[in-house]
């Protein structure tokens, strides 16, 4: 598998990357780990005329605590997220999701920003980013803007990101009582269905819940009916079961392919919602 020809350049800073994107007039694509883009290029499903490499821009890499939030640079690889002690203690769901992406080699190269920008409907990160209410920090010709995760994922492979913009980082308030559960597609190990859930618990009662699904539809999305069903309820087997049982009911378009029919995918949303919530609950009491 051999891609079509392209020009390659390296950006030295975010500003430089934005300037290069602008100069290319839409012909260029950014590349960091390349683990979403290169496979598509090899299959000639993507044929960019120019690649701008942002993998080595120092400001794009690393995991930092910023006040009570955690900031992850867009070019941070999945392995670093999966094994970060900070993430492991403060936001174990994120480490758990990162550790389930692809395989070890993919996790050594693939990046958070790349996964979000590509927004594969079966990618793991989007569900997690949604339930963390993360903000996505983007720099473009007009300067920096901040997009809420809730409005970032628009449609199939479509996000709120202009071709001349660069995702710089993702920022979120870490939460321990959260879980991610995933039904693996047995060949690619993408998610047939993946559900992330965050529980805000006080005195055994769910103050609020945040639940999102990936793999099921055109793009990752929140399951607001589940969130509503949990809010204000005592946290127990019954409330989790009841809330999970309606998961996916409001999802209009559900994917179907050789691995899973629409009916099966729909049925798996409650199953994995329950598993994610149970993990969140277990972590809340730990």
């Amino acid at each position: 598998m051999i891609p079509t020809g392209f020009e390659y350049e390296r950006a030295t800073s975010v500003a430089d990357a934005v300037a290069r994107l602008r100069a290319s007039n839409g012909a260029a694509k950014l590349i960091a780990g390349g683990h979403s883009l290169v496979p598509l290029m090899k299959l000639r499903l993507s044929e960019p005329g120019r690649l701008i490499d942002i993998a080595r821009i120092p400001e794009l890499c690393g995991i930092r605590q910023v006040g009570d939030a955690i900031e992850i640079g867009a070019a941070t690889v999945h392995h670093d997220v999966a094994t970060s002690p900070l993430i492991a203690t403060r936001c174990p769901m994120l480490a758990e999701a990162a550790a389930e992406i692809g395989d070890p080699q993919v996790r050594n190269r693939g990046t958070l920003g790349g996964s979000l920008a590509h927004a594969d409907p079966s990618a793991d990160y989007p569900a997690v980013i949604l339930v963390l209410n993360a903000t996505i920090h983007i720099v473009g010709p007009g300067g920096e803007r901040v997009v809420q995760a809730a409005t970032f994922f628009k449609d199939l492979l479509t996000v709120d990101l202009d071709p001349q913009e660069v995702i710089v980082s993702v920022r979120f308030k870490p939460v321990v009582s959260a879980g991610y559960a995933k039904l693996h597609q047995r060949a690619s190990h993408y998610a047939i269905v993946g559900v992330a859930g965050v529980l805000d618990i006080q005195g055994g009662v769910v103050r609020s819940a945040c639940v999102a699904v990936t793999g099921a539809s055109t793009h990752a999305m929140r399951l607001s009916n589940v969130e509503h069903a949990l809010a204000g309820q005592p946290l127990n087997d019954e409330s989790i079961h009841k809330a999970a049982s309606i998961a996916g009911a409001g999802v209009a378009v559900v994917n179907a392919d050789v691995h899973a029919s629409e009916e099966y995918r729909r049925a798996m949303i409650p199953v994995f919602t329950k598993r994610a919530l149970e993990k969140a609950r277990a972590r809340s009491s730990a």
């Binding site: 039904l183 060949a187 690619s188 099966y264």
Partner: protein, 787 residues
């Protein structure tokens, strides 16, 4: 006087492989590692539709690209080479290496590009424009048999590639059938099990895709080919025939070959095309298959539909078996395609003494990639159909699956046992294999464990499967390529041994096992033996490695040649030691007179003497090099018993293999370490078939599982530790007693996993589930539907 250093006997020892030092350091030479000055790369434009007439084929832009040497269409190629030959005596439609007017499966080549490098070649392929008039795609097997929705080859009405053939009880040599006995068996039955079963289509997926380098040297008029093949000698013969060259003008080399699993037996269009293009252009060319290309261009395996009827008494004694087979062979017959399902017929007895059996077979064309051998090749299908039926019988009669089998085994005192299907089982003790497996697995304890798990609401099941297979394939009457193997053994002047074998190992470790045998035979250190293979210029003749035959047939040829050299060497040593040659022993690097170990001459000195024989003993020629062809009188029939425990996730339907116990009897073992590796690999492929592997086509004939993104390959995380136990019942068919083991793992594991899964789901009333056991399929059963 030679110093004595006692050498251990090597046969039967767990010897580390001699192949490995080069492979673990990345120093092996696979076909893509071969480079020749001036070498061009070739790439194929392939059909992206399943069935259609080529209306326009424009290669002009491709031809004009910088770096493109040439482009050949099917019509141009047809002037250079003959239609593709097959290796079976069945009728076959005309098959051009590159399609000329009609394409019949996704992946069939329509043009070939020759270019400076693989990058340019790929660009040129993309620049070729093809327009097709689409024809209806023939995908559904049973509909295909009615000629619907289209006829693929005009001279094969209703897409019937092979009209029904029959064998078994009441069928005479001409194929004429008398139904009396089979009808009586079914009439007398208390219970009849009837089930339609699909043994699904698989993609072999050797980790090294295919590849070929062809180098025609115009000045010499000869062709050298490196190919990722299991049988270089067959490649040589067939390429020579296709190009109109003599076999002496073609040298075929199988360098390091990265797995074959049956799919590299066939001689492929790309090999003929590379040879033809090299000859036409006078340039060396290389073709390396890409994985997504391999999914459609390399033969698939299995894909046999079976209608199984089993008649039995209420005590579980089987009275009769009907096996109606319909094989989906894809768009064309390849080298052995037509013969593979006949092996399913041959093995319809399985391990059982069944009074009346009838097997029939029809082979059908569809617009899919052609099928051919895949690890097990016809035997796993037979095992699967019969073992699943035995499980259904056990369930119907509420008899333990082990017990129902026990009541039907061919008794151990009946070997050799001639089956109604025409096989003569050489040796066996099936009940013992069952007992060893039951003990190794702790069958009764496992049942208790399963029942306890069920009480907790878990879906846990147990499965058991017997198998017997055909290995060590020969004689020539049973193998169209020739049922023998060849070997040459030379004791060099310095006492080192060089042996050439016609077997062509590609992972089986014969450089080690063969050396173990020869080292023992000559009483020399292992390091003094070198095994050569895979080059027709080095190995005079050969058949190749497939059908688990290398050890049983190739190994025997080797020790036969070895014995001849040894006998001659004794004739040289006799006069030196003033002893009769019959009194000599070869041990510890010394040839000595029996009972007088210190009297000997070193092996090396005798070897040197044989090459400078002064004086030359009366009646002897100088030199120590002999060869042998070994053709066995019969196949070998290894057997065994596999037991598995499976748990199904009640919510998702995901099956998980918890335990697998395998008892395999491959006859005498040369190297148990290597044997275990062979069994492990076979198990993985058998389990893969049961659980996750499946070539799925849509209604348009597109392969939906056409890459590793969608075709699930077993990974390390899919398996528990396999628990193996060996049993040894030597075969009388060859002097080694070895039966062969390469394919064994794929036979028992597949039905035993399906049985375990059906058992796990038995509370839902399911009796059989077709493979693969996809989570959704199992989930639907749990939801109350049917598979």
């Amino acid at each position: 006087m030679a110093t004595t250093h006692v050498l251990p006997k090597l046969v039967g020892q767990r010897i580390k492989r001699r192949e490995d030092p080069r492979l673990i350091q990345g120093r092996g030479t696979y076909v893509d590692d071969v480079k020749i000055v001036g070498m061009q790369h070739i790439a194929f434009k392939r059909s992206d539709i399943a069935h259609g007439r080529i209306r326009r084929l424009d290669v002009s832009v491709a031809k004009a690209l910088e770096g493109v040497e040439a482009v050949f269409t099917g019509a141009q190629l047809a002037e250079l080479i003959r239609p593709m030959p097959i290796g079976t005596p069945f009728p076959s439609p005309t098959h051009r290496a590159i399609a000329v007017d009609v394409v019949r499966y996704v992946g069939e080549a329509v043009a070939v590009v020759v270019a400076r490098d693989r990058y340019v070649a790929r660009d040129a392929v993309d620049a070729i424009v093809v327009e097709y008039e689409p024809l209806p795609a023939v995908v559904d097997l049973e509909r295909a048999m009615t000629g619907q929705p289209a006829v693929i080859h005009a001279d094969f009405p209703n897409n019937i590639a092979l009209p029904q053939i029959a064998s078994g009880t009441g069928v005479d040599a001409s194929g004429k059938a008398d139904d009396t006995k089979i009808d009586q068996a079914f009439a007398a039955a208390d219970v009849v099990i009837s089930q339609r079963m699909v043994n699904q289509r698989l993609v072999p997926n050797a980790m090294e895709p295919r590849g070929v380098v062809a180098h025609y040297e115009p000045g010499k008029g000869s062709l050298t080919m490196w190919s990722s093949t299991q049988n270089p000698h067959i490649l040589r013969s067939m390429v020579a025939g296709m190009l109109g060259l003599g076999e002496s003008q073609v040298r075929a080399i199988a360098p390091e070959v990265g797995g074959g699993f049956g799919a590299k037996i066939n001689i492929y269009a790309e090999e003929y095309v590379a040879a033809a293009v090299s000859k036409a252009l006078g340039l060396p060319v290389k073709w390396i298959e890409e994985r997504t290309e391999a999914f459609v261009a390399t033969t698939h395996g299995r894909d046999i539909l079976g209608y199984v009827d089993l008649a039995a008494t209420k005590d579980g004694k089987v009275l009769g078996l009907k096996l109606r087979l319909i094989a989906d062979i894809g768009a064309y017959n390849m080298l052995l395609t037509a013969a593979i399902p006949t092996l399913t017929m041959l093995m319809a007895n399985a391990t059982y003494d069944i009074p009346a059996i009838r097997a029939t077979l029809v082979e059908v064309f569809t617009n899919k990639t052609p099928t051919d051998a895949y690890r097990g090749a016809g035997r796993p299908e037979a095992t699967y159909f019969v073992e699943r039926a035995m499980d259904m019988l056990a369930a119907e009669l509420r008899i333990d699956p082990a017990e129902v089998r026990r009541r039907n085994f061919i008794p151990s005192d009946k070997f050799p046992y001639a089956t109604q299907m025409g096989a003569v089982y050489d040796s066996g003790d099936y009940e013992k294999a069952l007992d060893v497996a039951l003990a190794a697995a702790g069958w009764e304890a496992l049942k208790a464990e399963r029942d306890a798990a069920r009480k907790q609401g878990r879906l846990v099941g147990l499965g058991l499967s017997m198998y017997v297979e055909v290995c060590g394939v020969g004689p020539s009457a049973s193998l169209p390529t020739g049922g023998w193997e060849h070997a040459q053994v030379t004791v060099e002047r310095d006492g080192r041994i060089t042996a050439a074998t016609g077997a062509s190992p590609h992972g089986q470790g014969n450089e080690t096992t063969f050396a173990q045998m020869l080292a023992d035979q000559f009483g020399v250190p292992l390091e003094h033996v070198t095994i050569l293979h895979g080059d027709t210029a080095v190995v005079k003749q050969g058949i190749g490695t497939f059908g688990s035959r290398s050890q049983a047939v190739g190994g025997t040829a080797l020790v036969m040649a070895g014995a001849r050299v040894k006998a001659k060497m004794a004739k040289f040593a006799g006069p030196l030691l003033e002893a009769h040659e019959a009194d000599l022993v070869f041990e510890n690097g010394i040839i000595s007179v029996k009972g007088l170990p210190t009297s000997g001459k070193s092996f090396k000195d005798v070897a040197s003497y044989a090459y400078v024989p002064v004086p030359l003993p009366e009646g002897l020629e100088p030199g120590l090099s002999e060869e042998a062809f070994f053709e066995p009188k019969n196949n070998t029939y290894p057997f065994g018993c596999h037991i598995s425990m499976v748990e199904v996730d009640r919510q998702t339907g995901e099956p998980r293999l918890l335990k697998l116990v395998a008892v395999d009897d491959a006859g005498t073992l040369i190297n148990p370490l290597i044997v275990e590796g062979q069994i492990h690999g076979g198990l993985a492929q058998g389990i893969g078939q049961a659980l996750i592997e499946e070539a799925v086509y849509d209604e348009q004939g597109q392969l939906l599982t056409g890459s590793f993104m969608d075709y699930a390959m077993p990974r390390a995380t899919d398996f528990p530790r396999f628990e193996l136990q060996a049993m040894v019942t030597p075969t009388p068919v060859n002097p080694l007693g070895a039966k062969g083991v390469g394919e064994a793992g794929t036979l028992g594991s597949t039905p035993c996993l399906v049985a375990a899964t059906v058992d796990a789901l038995r509370e839902f009333g399911v009796k059989h589930i077709d493979m693969s056991l996809r989570p959704e399929k199992l989930w639907r059963i749990i939801q109350g539907g049917r598979a």
